[in-house]
């Protein structure tokens, strides 16, 4: 059955990040049963995740290329780096979730399972593995949204997310079956072949698969679930969806497209819908009263920028997406980490509660301000270089009009990001200063997000153009 022989060592080493996640899941279950401690699950999950990140980094740095399951699952440096990025971005999410759940065991198990799915996806060679990964990524998230069942909206949000996620799955499978019917293979390479042929069935398959990913990444007009799901979930879960899920999906799309050139009709599809996403996401975000809904629309716009990266020439796409995902992810996480903590989860993210925050919690307000400026793409913060990288690629590939329209669309976003700053800094203070302990708790997580982001902003030259 296997062409290259089957080596357990290969599986142990090449799948080290995945294996460590699996080990973490088992260990959490064991700890929960044998020695339940308030922070036990967190410690285990954090260690497993950190080790998995290190493992992925080592695989990347070592340039390990392996095929533990030929035709299904490959490990190569690009995939390893993508995994490392996604895993590392989840670390702050765990810190965010420290006291969010009375019983943290289920949360951590679900989170690690979902990450396992992401890792599968990023190494997938066939549509089967990709599908497996995509579903393993999504199913735990539906439950994670429900975990916040303290609020009635959560149920609605989870259901909406589930139904639309199901629709995405169906669309994806239909696309894959068309591809299989046309080519007789489940290999991912069939997708790039289908891109280049002018056959109605191949085009339909490509469009269906792409639409499924648009749904997962919340690109207009497939975005309607995002604001509700983001609002209904608790803060760490929202952060996970906005950062890690989005990053995973986009990196998977990148794996699918590889460096293949885009044919004309597909260009319009991957340019027009993301452009609409940028414009609509930024416009709709202006009217939101809830922080998480606003971030949802902001993430819809950011999905637009990320899909724009596909317009660039093949070799530059990977770098652009990875850089963007890191800059965007860190800053989104910083924003969530700096959110003031209150007992009432629904009131916590009402934008009116941000009024005068600078006087109650100067550190949190400053961090949130930095995050907003970076998300708006204002230099010298890392969001600017990330955006520059994408639009530069789009322009260098010759799509000047799309690039200019996209930039003008990004201009629309400036208002609502700055409005948060206005509320925090320029409105009179209401209420007493926040307790010092609550502020101090956020400091660690904020620093974890801020320091790498600042390094990225100061020395972008150290990573850009280095592979």
């Amino acid at each position: 059955m296997n062409r290259h022989g089957f080596s357990w060592l290969d599986i142990a080493v090449a799948l080290a990040p995945e294996n460590l996640l699996l080990l973490g899941i088992v260990a959490i279950l064991a700890v929960e049963i044998l020695a339940p401690k308030p922070r036990g699950a967190l410690v285990v999950a954090f260690s497993a995740l950190a080790l998995a990140t290190v493992a992925a980094l080592v695989l990347w740095a070592g340039g390990v290329v392996a095929e533990p399951f030929p035709g299904e699952f490959t490990v190569e440096p690009g995939a390893s780096l993508a995994k490392a990025v996604v895993l590392a971005l989840t670390l702050p999410v765990l810190l965010l979730a420290r006291d969010e759940f009375p019983q943290s065991g289920p949360f951590h198990v679900l989170l690690l399972s979902s990450l396992y799915g992401v890792c599968l996806m990023l190494s997938a060679d066939s549509f089967l593995t990709l599908f497996l990964g995509l579903e393993m990524l999504s199913l735990p998230v539906y439950v994670l949204v429900l975990l916040a069942f303290r609020r009635p909206e959560s149920l609605e949000a989870a259901l909406k997310y589930l139904v639309l996620g199901g629709a995405a799955t169906a669309t994806f499978l239909l696309g894959v079956s068309l591809l299989y019917g046309g080519t007789g293979t489940m290999s991912l390479a069939a997708f790039t072949v289908a891109l280049s042929v002018h056959d109605p069935m191949a085009t339909a398959a490509v469009v269906l698969v792409l639409v499924a990913f648009f749904l997962k990444a919340a690109v207009v007009p497939f975005h309607a679930w995002a604001p509700d799901a983001y609002e209904g979930a608790t803060v760490p879960v929202t952060a996970y969806m906005a950062v890690v899920v989005k990053a995973g999906v986009l990196l998977a799309v990148l794996r699918l497209f590889g460096e293949a050139p885009l044919p004309g009709p597909i260009v319009d599809l991957v340019a027009v819908l993301p452009l609409l996403s940028i414009v609509w996401g930024n416009l709709a975000a202006m009217r939101q009263k809830s922080f998480r809904r606003m971030i949802a629309y902001s993430s819809i716009a950011h999905a637009g920028y990320l899909f724009y990266a596909l317009l660039g020439d093949g070799p530059g796409r990977y770098e652009a997406v990875v850089f963007y995902v890191v800059a965007y992810g860190l800053m989104n996480l910083l924003a969530f980490a700096a959110l003031p903590r209150t007992a009432d989860d629904a009131a916590r993210d009402h934008l009116d509660r941000f009024r005068g925050m600078f006087h109650r919690n100067p550190f949190g307000a400053t961090m949130l301000g930095i995050a907003m400026l970076s998300l708006a793409g204002i230099p010298p913060l890392p969001g600017f270089v990330a955006k520059f990288l994408i639009f530069k690629n789009v322009m260098a590939a010759g799509y000047t009009t799309y690039a200019v329209l996209g930039l003008v669309g990004s201009y629309l976003g400036i208002y609502f990001y700055l409005r948060v700053i206005q509320l925090m800094f320029m409105s009179p203070a209401e209420g007493p200063a926040e307790p010092r302990t609550a502020v101090r708790r956020a400091v660690g997580t904020c620093i974890v997000c801020l320091v790498p982001a600042l390094l990225l902003a100061l020395f972008p030259g150290a990573v850009i153009g280095r592979g």
Binding site: I378, P379, F388, T400, V408, I414, L418, P460, G465
Partner: protein
């Protein structure tokens, strides 16, 4: 330390100041003020030495630092002084301590945040002037926006939120188009091997077809024209000036507006010379409209801050006229006019702030006869008013006179070649001088003379701190008015280079 390192010191002193401020508790306000003032004063001292050491006979960059920054894109950290920016750098450093000292009594809320923002905007403005790489320039250019957003938005007047968003949304719109143009420019000039460069000197070698040049100049120009501002893109300025706290107005009028004209001089026109030639009638017309329209609007304002705001539009119209007429005297006059306006407008805004702190109104009609009540204040006010009008021996005269002389000379030349447009435009621009005298004297007359009206009186005359600030400004105004030879010598080579760049066609196919 090498000479070049000192320019980096000048650039990064405000950052160092900000970093130190973070460790000072927010309640220790006097320590915060002192620390900021020391940082700014140190910057001024070092800048003064650099200015003195700047050699007028050496073309090109002096005190240059060139370090790779993003090698894959050919982006470098290149800074340096040349004839274009040397006076503006000096102006920025000179106004820094005055802004800080001027806000000692005016700003009482969130003092720490305020001085952090003042230091950061100082850093960004200084950076935009000394940057010699387009990417770096853009970073500083955009970075200026946020501190000013915060300064107007927190410490501004009643309609501060509206004004500050208007300022940001105008500025950012220009910037986004400039960003698009910048990316396009750099990547269209990439060598076949894919090597890129954002260095100004490399971009000056570009050869682009006329239609492209016009498009790119429009994108860059829109961004610069909003900052200047040129009529009809000026509507953010009165709001921003009126609502901004004194320090914000001083920074805006003193330095920020010069970014626009500096951008035209350093980037817009020399990068796209053929487009500049094609668009020059439009640019001249807009400059003259700005001069006359700004002056007419200043003539009818009831708010004293608005009078100075509109006068800024008029005064910067002269700078644009001087830059577009391409006469050597005119170009140098434009540079002097930039500095002169920076001094007089900053001084007038500071004086308005001083009276506002005492009387709490900006209504011109509420005041009268201040000359009797506040003699020292009135003396300084009169001096700055006359400098703003352009009385000989003050800096205003040097600037406006040289611009009009240059425009007139170029106008005669064009007239002899059969085109009377520039000559007619210069003639119209001269009326701006008359209008300038009218609105400033109307202002001074209502303010200083007539029946005594002092809201919230009795008030005290200037204290020592305020006198020191004004003495410094007035001294600078007279220095530039009486001894313009030295600063002019330092800008002369740059003015020649500018003229050379803009008048040499760089369409593809022409022999270099």
């Amino acid at each position: 330390m090498s000479d070049a390192a000192w320019l980096n010191v000048v650039l990064f002193l405000p950052v160092l100041g900000t970093a130190l401020l973070l460790f000072v508790p927010a309640t220790r306000e006097s320590a915060i003020r002192t620390l900021t003032l020391v940082a700014m004063a140190a910057q001024l001292v070092v800048t003064g030495f650099l200015y003195a050491a700047f050699d007028p006979a050496t073309p090109g960059l002096q005190f240059a630092t060139r370090l790779p920054w993003i090698p894959a894109w050919g982006v470098t950290y290149t800074i340096g002084l040349d004839g274009y920016n040397v006076l503006l750098v000096l102006l920025t450093a000179f106004l820094g301590p005055l802004v800080v000292a001027g806000a000692f009594t005016a700003v009482r809320r969130d003092v720490k945040l305020f001085y952090c923002m003042v230091l950061l905007i100082q850093f960004a403005m200084m950076g935009a002037f000394v940057a010699q790489d387009l990417f770096l320039f853009y970073l500083f250019w955009e970075a200026m926006m946020i501190p000013m957003f915060v300064i107007i938005g927190i410490w501004g007047g009643e309609r501060r939120i509206y004004a500050t968003f208007k300022f940001v949304l105008y500025t950012a719109f220009g910037s986004i188009l400039m960003l698009a143009a910048m990316i396009w420019l750099a990547w269209s000039l990439a060598t076949p091997e894919g090597a890129l460069s954002f260095a100004f000197t490399d971009l000056y070698q570009s050869r682009l077809p006329l239609s492209t040049q016009v498009l790119l100049l429009s994108a860059f120009g829109l961004s610069f024209a909003i900052k200047v501002p040129i009529v009809p893109l000026h509507t953010w300025l009165p709001d921003a000036h009126v609502e901004a706290p004194t320090a914000g107005s001083v920074i805006l009028a003193g330095v920020l507006l010069k970014m626009g004209t500096y951008g035209f001089m350093k980037l817009g026109f020399p990068l796209f010379p053929d487009a500049t030639m094609v668009l020059s009638p439009l640019l001249i017309a807009l400059a003259v409209v700005s001069i006359v329209y700004g002056a007419c609007l200043a003539l009818v304002q009831d708010d004293i801050k608005k009078i100075i705001a509109y006068s800024s539009i008029s005064h910067l119209g002269y700078v644009m006229l001087g830059l577009v007429c391409l006469d050597l005297v005119g170009v140098q006059g434009a540079v002097v006019q930039m500095v002169s306006h920076g001094l007089t407008a900053a001084g007038l805004f500071l004086m308005v702030g001083m009276i506002y702190e005492r009387c709490h109104t900006r209504e011109l009609a509420a005041y009268g006869g201040l000359a009797k009540v506040l003699p020292v204040y009135s003396l300084f006010f009169m001096l700055l008013t006359l400098a703003s009008i352009g009385l000989p021996t003050t800096s205003g005269f040097t600037g406006e006179f040289m611009v009009l002389l240059g425009a007139g000379t170029a106008g005669w030349q064009q007239y002899s070649q059969g085109s009377s447009f520039l000559l007619a435009s210069s003639a119209v621009a001269v009326t701006g001088v008359v209008l300038g005298a009218m609105y400033m004297l109307r202002f001074a007359q209502g303010f200083l003379f007539g029946g005594e009206r002092v809201p919230h009186g009795p008030v005290l005359d200037l204290d020592l701190r305020e006198k020191a600030i004004l003495v410094a400004i007035v001294a600078a105004v007279f220095w530039l008015g009486l001894f313009p030879a030295e600063p002019l010598a330092k800008t002369e080579l740059a003015a020649q280079e500018y003229r050379q760049l803009v008048t040499t066609s760089r369409l593809p196919g022409n022999a270099p």
